[in-house]
Each structure stands twice: as structure tokens, then as C-alpha cells.
Symmetry: C2
Subunit: 227 residues, 2 copies
């Protein structure tokens, strides 16, 4: 019985990791679509998102079944509860990749603003953030998850800089306003992907340590009640 449960938990983790891989692909395709003005990548994002949505439902079903049939406790219960939440954040990262694809579709219909400002740097930072978040989950590495939380400040700073730079550009060239807005919206989409990565990192820390670090509150851990 115990062994069967361990196998089920491992399968659940694998299911989530393979979904996360799809989400990473979607983000990569979306950012490449913008950088290379590549419509095929836009189509690819929509394609991947459909698979992410199917995975989202499948992971949720697995979690509810495990809760019902195995009635897990302590660390196992925390892992499943964390998986329910991580699943939601992964699915919404996929939605943001689709939003980037939509904004890109509008952007590449017009003239490019010569430099994409700091967007390529923001792409890179967000991709590292997403990668480290998933690594922290796979390796149950709470220290790496904490690293992600720090990186979110860099991403937020880049977004603010992009906002200012685009506004300055557009004030001098009001005919670029739609294009500028599209880039601002992409920066917002990327910021939100970073926020979801932060949420996942917090859930990873909770799953590993039983410690709830959200809202920077070091509240009483619920570990005691479960073990």
C-alpha cells in the first residue's frame, strides 16, 4: 500500500513537471514570436496552450483522487496541496504566454519601434526565474526557491524601466502610441509570469518545510498539526 502511494506521488510530480515543460515552451515561443516577428511561433503558442489546459485538468483530477483514496498526511499532504496551487499558477503562466502572443500579433502588424527597449533582458530574466522555480520543485531545493523570490525584484525593476522608456519614446513620437502600448502590455505579461513563478516558489518552500512565507509573514507553521 505504502509503495503504491509513493509511486502515485512520483507520477503526480512527473505529470506536473511535464506540464511545466510545456509552459516553458509556450513562454519561449511567445518571446521568440516578438523578437523574430514570427507568426508561426504565435500559432505554436496557441497549440501548446491547449495541451497545457488538458494537463491542468488532469493534474487536478490526480490530486483529488490521491486525497480521496490515500488520505495522505504531513509532508505528502503538503505536497499534494502545493501541487493543486502550482498547477493553477502554471496554467496562468500559459495564459500569459497567450497574452504575449496576442500583443505580438498586434505589434508585428505595425512598424517596429527600433529597439525593443529592455524587453529581451526581461525575457531572459523571466526565463531563468521560471527555470529555477521548476528546478527547485524537482530537486526539492528550498534555497533555490528563495533565490527565485529575490530575482522577482529585478524583473519588476525592468518592467518599470520599460514603462518609462516607452513613455519617453512615445511622447516624442505620438504616432507610435499603439506600438508602445503593445510593448508595455508585453512587459506586464512578463511581470505576471514572474509573479506566478514567485507564487510557485512559495508553494515549493511550503511543501518542503511546512513554512508559509507568503505576505512576508512568518506565521506559525502548520507542520505541528500534521505530523
Amino acid at each position: 500500500m505504502e509503495r503504491h502511494f509513493d509511486a502515485s506521488l512520483r507520477e503526480l510530480k512527473e505529470q506536473l513537471v511535464s506540464m511545466a515543460g510545456l509552459v516553458e515552451l509556450a513562454i519561449e515561443a511567445a518571446t521568440e514570436a516578438l523578437q523574430k516577428r514570427d507568426r508561426e511561433k504565435i500559432a505554436l503558442v496557441h497549440d501548446i496552450e491547449r495541451r497545457v489546459n488538458a494537463a491542468h485538468i488532469a493534474v487536478d483530477n490526480s490530486c483529488v483522487k490521491l486525497l480521496a483514496l490515500q488520505q495522505p498526511l504531513a509532508a505528502d499532504l503538503r505536497l499534494i496541496v502545493a501541487t493543486i496551487k502550482i498547477n493553477t499558477d502554471l496554467e496562468r503562466m500559459g495564459d500569459q504566454a497567450v497574452n504575449i502572443a496576442h500583443n505580438t500579433e498586434r505589434y508585428i502588424q505595425g512598424e517596429p519601434l527600433k529597439p525593443l527597449i529592455d524587453l529581451p533582458r526581461m525575457f531572459d530574466e523571466v526565463r531563468v526565474m521560471v527555470r529555477e522555480t521548476l528546478d527547485s520543485f524537482v530537486r526539492t531545493d528550498a534555497a533555490l526557491a528563495r533565490e527565485v523570490l529575490r530575482r522577482d525584484d529585478i524583473v519588476d525593476g525592468l518592467k518599470n524601466k520599460i514603462f518609462r522608456d516607452v513613455l519617453d519614446h512615445v511622447k516624442a513620437r505620438p504616432e507610435h502610441i499603439e506600438q508602445g502600448l503593445n510593448l508595455i502590455l508585453v512587459a506586464r505579461n512578463l511581470e505576471r509570469i514572474g509573479d506566478h513563478a514567485t507564487n510557485i516558489a512559495e508553494d515549493v518552500i511550503f511543501a518542503i518545510t511546512g513554512e508559509d512565507i507568503r505576505h512576508s509573514a512568518r506565521v506559525e507553521t502548520i507542520k505541528g498539526a500534521l505530523t
Copy 2:
């Protein structure tokens, strides 16, 4: 034992409903801050958000404890899993109220764009959406939850109209670009509150019927596996 569990479930529902009440207050204060250019309402939003964050952690703790100690099945298990998700969406609605407060703070430092375009209408629609979502949860009314899903289209349409109207205005008056961007961002914040209400409505339908209607997929219900 059974009676004790029913009381715990009722308390959990009450906890969630009182948190939802705080979130509604935060949204109302944020929208009033913009409409009345009222800085005290901005401070109120931040104040309420701190209480929402505390409630967020408390509800999560209650859910994990109930799962661990009561090992619920079927409809009870679905209610607790739905509560974990609704809790997350409520907390993020609170974050969006804070975002509206931030955008308002910048907006009221400048000259008002004479009409707030369709924002007041969008406020009203989003508030009704949030109210109906919570009512559907309290009354376990799946039909009302489905009503919310339809209303989301109206909100999305209003957001698109506000985007276009602001762009037209700002093209004629480029010196208003920062102010216009602030209004566009508020419209986005409201759209996201509507999205969270939609997510909650889907979770309510799942909790009541065991039917997963996300991604418009009528997938195999997991009811059978649990009852």
C-alpha cells in the same frame, strides 16, 4: 464525529465568506478612490489588503487541517479543494484592488482626463460579477455561477472599448499619455478581477456538481471516483 465535521465545514465557509467581504470592500474603496480622487480611500485599500492576506493564510491552514484530520470524501472533499482555489483567487482580487489604488495614486497626481470613459460602467459590471460569484458560493447555486461566466464577456468588451477610446483621446492629446496609460491599466486590473470571479464561479460549479467546466471542456467528471 460527523457533527463536528459539519460544524468545521460551516466555519470554513464562514471564514471564506468573511474574507470575500473584505475583498469586496477593497474593490469598492479602490474604485471610489479613482472616481472621487480620494486619497483616504487609497489608504483604506492598503489597510484592507493586510487583513485579506491574513485571512488568506488562515483559510489555507483550515483547509489543510480539515484534510489531515477529517479525511473527507466526495462532496466534502470537493468543497475543500474548491475552497483552496477560491482562497487564492480572492487574495489575487485583493492584489488587483491594490494595483488599482497604485494606478489611481499616479492618476490623481495629474490633470483628470475629462470623462473617465466607460470605467464607471466597468466598475459596476465587475462589482455585480463579484457579488454574484460570492452569492453562488453561499447559496450553492450553480445556475447563478453560470450567469457569472456570461457576464465576463461584457467586462472584456468594456475593457476593449476603453482601450480604443483612450488611444483615440491620447493620439489627439499626446500630453495626456501618462494619464491615459493609468486608465488603461485600471481597465486591465478590473478585467483581471473579472477573470478571478470567473475562476471562482468555475470552482463553485465544480464543488456543487463535480463537473469541471474549465477550458470549456466537458471532461469526464471525477464524481464517480469519489462517491
